[in-house]
Every structure is written in structure tokens, then in C-alpha cells.
Amino acid sequence: MVSREILVVVEHRAGKLLPVSLELAAFGRQLAQIAGGSVMGVVLASPARSVAEEFAQSSGLPVLALENENFSAYNAEAYLRALARLVSERQPAFILIAHTAAGWDFAPRLAVAVSGSCSTGVAGFEAGVPIRFHRAICGGKISTEVAPILDTVAVVTMMPGAVKPTEPEAAGAVEVKSVEAGAGGTRALGLKQAPPRSLDLSRAEVIVAAGRGMGGPEHLGLIRELASLFDRGAVGASRPVVDAGWLPLEHQVGMTGQTVAPKLYLACGISGAIQHTMGMSRADLIVAVNTDPAAAIFSAAHLGIVQDLRRFLPVLIAKLRDKKEKKL
């Protein structure tokens, strides 16, 4: 039996390849070692050649670039039509898509359109028959292994950062093809840049970040005070804190906020959703304080403290202040 293909949908924005595409390529290669089959990149763009060549060069994979004027910006309907046709022509075993704003938008619909199975937000896989994908549920408190329904195409979205890109041996071949891809009435109206921010968390050496576990905006004084004790300290926040209006968006760390790599990251009352930890996992030292010993944040932290922040932070602040005064 000939193993079926693995297709990797290349993610790009405004003519630029996004780094997650190379992680997907590496994921595809790992999967091919187990499941067999060849791996091919699929680019939907207009124009498509330059993005396709960039991907072929940096991933080493062959690329099929589909061109249609409706691909000049992301358009779910146009993507779906083109990809559904491609699936029915090539009958791949897997379609790998990045678990990003674009990926999770069209992946579940594509699975329905091609009567395939669908697993989203996977962080890795387990070899075997069937192949099992790892994904976290309940805010990272439970790990699961999910399997696609056999004998269909498996649509899989991969968490950014799950796999490290590999160095290519040689550039892959590029084929550019013009395709039909109607968008129905759906129209892309363009991108809106993030509002300018006065706070650049990427320059901070220490980030003291507040999560919902702080209990309320009235307790954020402790976070500010602790952050102020460091020369290059800043206040960070998890998404729920920003959504609740306790702190403005410019403090948000994570997938939809800023990506940071300070020397010290102190997560205070943050549960540790993957969308948050993705934005701070490159910190040199991660300290987590949370009352819940099962919180997922402790899987991302180097030092863990199971305590009530409102009692612990005042003690920590006093002690640090004391040490600084005595130059200890």
C-alpha cells in the first residue's frame, strides 16, 4: 500500500512567511517518519511565487502554490473551496495547519467539507496505529490523546511552538497553479494594526505579571510595587485581567499580546493557559505563585510557590526592600 501524502498549509501574512510555517514543516516531517508518505507545502496566495519559494528554500519541502485573486488576503470561503478541491484530488492522509487565528478559522470547516476528522491545538503525537495526538484540556489540568477517525483525511492544527524547525538540506521544487476559488459574499476588508503602545515589555528585565488569581484590580498595587523595586521592572498581565479591564491591553503577555523573554518572570495568580505561556516561556527564570497546586502554570515554571498572593507578596516586597537597602 502506498502511504498517502501529508499536506502542510503554509501561513503567511502581507507577503511574508510566518515562522510557524517552518514548525509545521518539521511537524510534517516527524509525522511522515511514522506514518510514511511524502510531505508537501501548500501555499494559497496572490501572487504566490515569492512566498512559495521562500518556504521551499527554508523548509526544503516541495511546494504547490495555488493562486487566485481571492487569496490576496486571508479569505475563509476562498481557502475552503481551494483546499477542499485539493483534498478530493490528492486524498492526503493528513492536512497540517497552524493553530492560529487563520488556522482555527478554516480547519474545522475544511474537516466538515471533506468529511474528514479534526483535531485542534495539538502539541505533539504518539507513534502507533492510529497515531495519537497530544492535546491539553481543562486549562492544561488534563492531558489527552486523541485519534483521527481511520480512513479519512485528518485535519490537524498544531500549537505554535510545539515543534522546532529543522535546517533544510536543499530547497524544494515549486509549482505555481492558478485555481478557481470563489469567496461567496465574504470579503476581506484589510488589517488593522495593533494600537500603538507606550509600554514595550520586551525591554523589561523583570516582569511581574498579574492573573485573575489576584482577586481584583484593588490588589494590583502589590504587583506594581514589586515591579517598581527592579531597575527594569514592568507589570505584565494575563488575558482575563485585560478582558476584565483591570489593566490595559499593552500589559498583556501571550499569543494575542506581547511575546517576552525577561531574565525573571513572576507569574502571580496566572493559571497558565498555553496562550499565555507561549508568550513568556523564553524567560530565563520563571516563578509561579498560585493557590491551586494543580494549576498548569507550574508546568511552565522553574520555581513554584503555592500561596495566597495577598499574604505572600507583602512579605516578599518587605524582604526584597530590606535586602536592597542593606545591599545584600
Binding site: A73, T100, A101, T120, Q193
Partner: protein, 258 residues
């Protein structure tokens, strides 16, 4: 205009989760359930649309066991005129496709102008049900919507989708359409006590899944387990003073930041 809001009954996120006896998910007994937080943002958005346009009727639907009725009552106390329970007491709707297929089968002939879902559920975090439902109903769809505006003629809706890094993408969809709503799109209101008491009295219609045709599946969960404790995380113990002292020593030794 008719709006459908899909809600899900989920355990409190602060819960201590255990693995169920079958080893395929979390154990539900002993957990406190409430409405999926993202669905409350969807519900609030529906109410705001109702306040902007007249003659808007909001229906809430859920797929789940009888306890999910509480999620419908919550939606009704916030402004849904009706609530419908698709009763999956036997727990057959395990995959997102199963849930989406049941809602699609029930809603297909009801001519909703707009379907709103939360962007994902807090428990299973798949983010699939909404877009799958759109595909099954043949509706255009936008996910992670952080702002929306329906045109005056009510024929289209302009959405802002949230992208990585705070950027947004604007997209226009013809109505009817389906949106999945991101947290932070609005500030959900609290239900008035009068409304909470009023909906307590109402009988909620329940539809057995068997009457809604085949239940297809899109994936199987083979195993669930507690995550392995990170080998790298060292827990500091003792009284507050002792912990603070240890922490500062360790931080100082590894990253001299003061």
C-alpha cells in the same frame, strides 16, 4: 431578526479535575458547572444587537445532559426569549462534529439570521463546534470576533477578527452568518433578580438526540491523564518568611536582577 446563541455547561475552571473511570476525559461528578465564559460574551453581544435593532428574538440552545438546563436558564435570564436543550443524557455527542451536527439538524429549518457561539469551550478547548456548525448550515463564518456591526439594511455584518500580537483583520459577511465571539468584545451584564426568578418557573423544552438523526464523529479521545509534573519546577515550602527568603536567594543566584 432571529439570533441563535449556542451555550455550553462547563465545570468551574478553578476545579480540581480527576480522570474519569473510562480514562477518556475528566470526571464530572463533584464538579460545579456554569456557563462557558466565552458564551456569555456571545450572549451579551446578542443582547446588544437586540438593543440596537428592534424585533430581535434571541434563542439559546445547548447540547448536554439535563444539568445543562441551568446554562439555558442563565441565557434566558440575560435576554434569550427561549431555551432549547438537546438532551444528550447518554453522552454520545463526544466530538465537536457530533455537537455541531445535532444543533444543525435542529436549527436547519428555523431560519436564524445570525448564530453566535463562544470562541471555544473552557473545558475541551477545541474551538471547532462553531465553525463546523457554520459549514453544516452552509453559512459564512468568522471566528475570534472582537467587534461586529450589522449593516442598516441587515443584509451584512462587518467583523473584526483578533489576530496574533493584537492586530485585527476586518471581514464582511453576508447575513445569515455565524460568528464565534472572543472574550473582551464587551462586558457581560449581570441578570436582574426579577429575571432570574422569572425564568426559574419556565419549562425548558428538551429534544432527544435520537430524533435528530445520525451522530457523526470527528475524533476519538483514547486516553486522558493528569499531566506529568514538570521535572523542572521546584516548589518552595515553609512559612511565608522562609519561602520569600528562599525565593530571593535562588533568584539572586540565577538571575542577578537587583
Amino acid at each position: 431578526m432571529k439570533i441563535l446563541v449556542c451555550v455550553k455547561s462547563v465545570p468551574d475552571r478553578q476545579s480540581s479535575f480527576r480522570v474519569n473511570a473510562a480514562g477518556t476525559g475528566y470526571e464530572e461528578s463533584g464538579l460545579k458547572f456554569g456557563v462557558n465564559e466565552y458564551d456569555l460574551f456571545a450572549m451579551e453581544e446578542a443582547v446588544r444587537i437586540k438593543e440596537r435593532f428592534r424585533e430581535v428574538e434571541i434563542t439559546a440552545v445547548t447540547v448536554g445532559p439535563p444539568r445543562a438546563e441551568a446554562a439555558l436558564r442563565k441565557a434566558m435570564s440575560l435576554g434569550a426569549a427561549d431555551g432549547v436543550l438537546i438532551d444528550d443524557s447518554n453522552g454520545r455527542a463526544t466530538s465537536a462534529l457530533a455537537v455541531a451536527s445535532l444543533i444543525a439538524a435542529w436549527s436547519r429549518d428555523k431560519k436564524f439570521d445570525l448564530v453566535l457561539c463562544g470562541v471555544l469551550s473552557e473545558d475541551l478547548q477545541r474551538g471547532q463546534t462553531g465553525p463546523m456548525l457554520a459549514q453544516l448550515l452552509g453559512l459564512p463564518c468568522a471566528t475570534t470576533v472582537a467587534a461586529e456591526k450589522i449593516s442598516e439594511d441587515r443584509k451584512s455584518i462587518t467583523c473584526e477578527r483578533e489576530l496574533e500580537g493584537g492586530m485585527r483583520e476586518r471581514v464582511l459577511l453576508p447575513l445569515p452568518a455565524l460568528l464565534t465571539v472572543q472574550s473582551g468584545i464587551n462586558t457581560p451584564r449581570y441578570a436582574s433578580l426579577t429575571n432570574v426568578l422569572r425564568v426559574k418557573q419556565l419549562t425548558i423544552p428538551s429534544i432527544p438526540t435520537a430524533s435528530l438523526g445520525e451522530i457523526p464523529n470527528s475524533e476519538t479521545t483514547l486516553r486522558a491523564c493528569l499531566p506529568e509534573r514538570s521535572a523542572i519546577c521546584e516548589f518552595l515550602e515553609g512559612d511565608l518568611d522562609r519561602i520569600a527568603e528562599q525565593l530571593l536567594e535562588k533568584v539572586r543566584a540565577r538571575v542577578p536582577v537587583w
